[in-house]
């Protein structure tokens, strides 16, 4: 009887090579866990296009319009790289999309928050993409080859995303009083949700041990969260903006920034579907997919006709 973690050959491959590739034998649970994690990551990229995409038509300069259009386009691309990685595990993209549309698979709840002002675009780039980078860099060494390779590709493009967000906020912070206030307001709203992107505290994360053994998860939620805070605090000072945490304090002993307690009840509400924009995000996604059916049908019909002609 095989241990749920995998038989000796699989574990040896994992420990010696550090990489599992699509045709390697693998435990069913490893395969299922990866499909779910990669797919939900992909869904997050696709849904994540919406809160920012909403501002392309309202961008206040052509320079910013171009940058934002390129960024949102990149996110679509990231979704595609990830769906492609998930498909190497023997599942079709259409099944994954179905799971998303039917609520069986999820996306990062950070994208259920509304983008209330232009400054939110900067805050998302600086904080949300910043947090994503901290999460994603370790995944570049994830045990599953296709996922790791997709992550390398994504990480290369992601630093542009964070940098443009920082740049946008810097311009606002140094702008008119109204612009500065806009930037500060956005940071005040996006800071805590960004911290919650790293997931529940380690003590409340049930599946971590197995994911760690399988080389899917290299660092704990709390470790990554602390890393993000340590990076972001000096950056906030460079931006001339404050962070909405009165308990933020440099700890000379640990050489980390101590921060206040996170109210995870909001996160759990949003996960459970009670977020501000949950319905809106899903409706846009499912409508695009359903409305596109006649186009996909037509494309396949045309392809079939061409094949017949060639035969």
């Amino acid at each position: 009887m095989h241990d749920e973690l995998g038989d000796p050959e699989f574990l040896a491959l994992l420990d010696n090579e550090g990489r599992i590739e699509p045709r390697d034998a693998m435990p069913d649970a490893y395969r299922k866990t990866l499909i779910r994690q990669i797919a939900q990551h992909a869904h997050s990229e696709i849904i994540g296009m919406q809160p920012e995409g909403n501002w392309i038509t309202r961008a206040p300069s052509l320079h910013r319009k171009a940058i934002l259009l390129a960024k949102v386009q990149d996110e679509a691309g990231h979704g595609l790289y990830l769906y492609a990685a998930a498909e190497t595990l023997g599942i079709d993209r259409s099944e994954l999309l179905e799971a998303l549309h039917e609520g069986r698979q999820k996306y990062s709840s950070i994208f259920n928050y509304p983008t209330k002002s232009w400054a939110d675009i900067g805050a998302i780039g600086w904080l949300v993409d910043g947090a994503a980078i901290v999460n994603q860099v370790p995944l570049c060494r994830c045990s599953y080859g296709p996922y790791a390779r997709a992550m390398i590709r994504i990480c290369k493009e992601e630093s542009f995303h964070q940098r443009q967000g920082f740049d946008l906020l810097l311009t606002l912070s140094n702008g008119t009083p109204a612009q500065h206030a806009m930037a500060q307001d956005a940071v005040d709203r996006w800071w805590w949700p960004s911290l919650m992107m790293f997931g529940p505290p380690d003590a409340e994360s049930p599946n971590s041990a197995r994911s760690t053994r399988w080389g899917i998860k290299r660092f704990s939620n709390d470790e990554l969260r602390q890393r993000f805070v340590d990076i972001a605090v000096p950056q906030s000072e460079a931006l001339g903006l404050t962070l909405p945490d009165p308990d933020l304090r440099w700890n000379a002993e640990t050489e980390h920034w101590d921060f206040g307690e996170i109210d995870f009840s909001e996160l759990y509400d949003v996960i459970a579907g009670k977020g501000y924009c949950n319905d809106e995000r899903m409706e846009r996604r499912t409508t695009a997919h359903n409305d596109g059916e006649w186009v996909r049908e037509a494309a396949m019909a045309y392809a079939a006709k061409q094949k017949e002609k060639a035969a």
Binding site: I67, A84, R93, R163, F166, Q235, M300, Y302
Partner: protein
């Protein structure tokens, strides 16, 4: 619901090196697959040649036995992180 078939994409990043597997995408036919591949996998000027192959046509082995299209991408300078002036002393960007 209609699903479009899967294609594997190979890109030759520059002359002198061989095609490398870049990933996959969905398209209804080869021409669409090529066009999609150009948009998805060579947006930052990463390629001079693209191959697309229906995933179903790829035969794999078992482990134990063992000028014109790409020019427009080159000037989109805001895609690259080095485009931005990061203020001195700001790290991790």
């Amino acid at each position: 619901m209609t699903a479009l078939p899967l294609w594997e994409v190979f890109v030759r990043p520059k002359r002198g090196v061989s095609h490398v597997h870049a990933g996959s995408l969905h398209a209804s036919d080869a021409e669409s697959a090529l066009r999609n591949a150009r948009d998805v996998y060579t947006r930052r000027g990463e390629g001079v040649s693209i191959w697309v192959v229906p995933a179903a046509e790829v035969t794999a082995s078992s482990p134990d036995e063992k000028e014109a299209w790409f020019d427009p991408a080159a000037d989109k300078i805001y895609r690259h992180p080095t485009f931005y002036d990061v203020p001195d002393g700001v790290e991790h960007l």
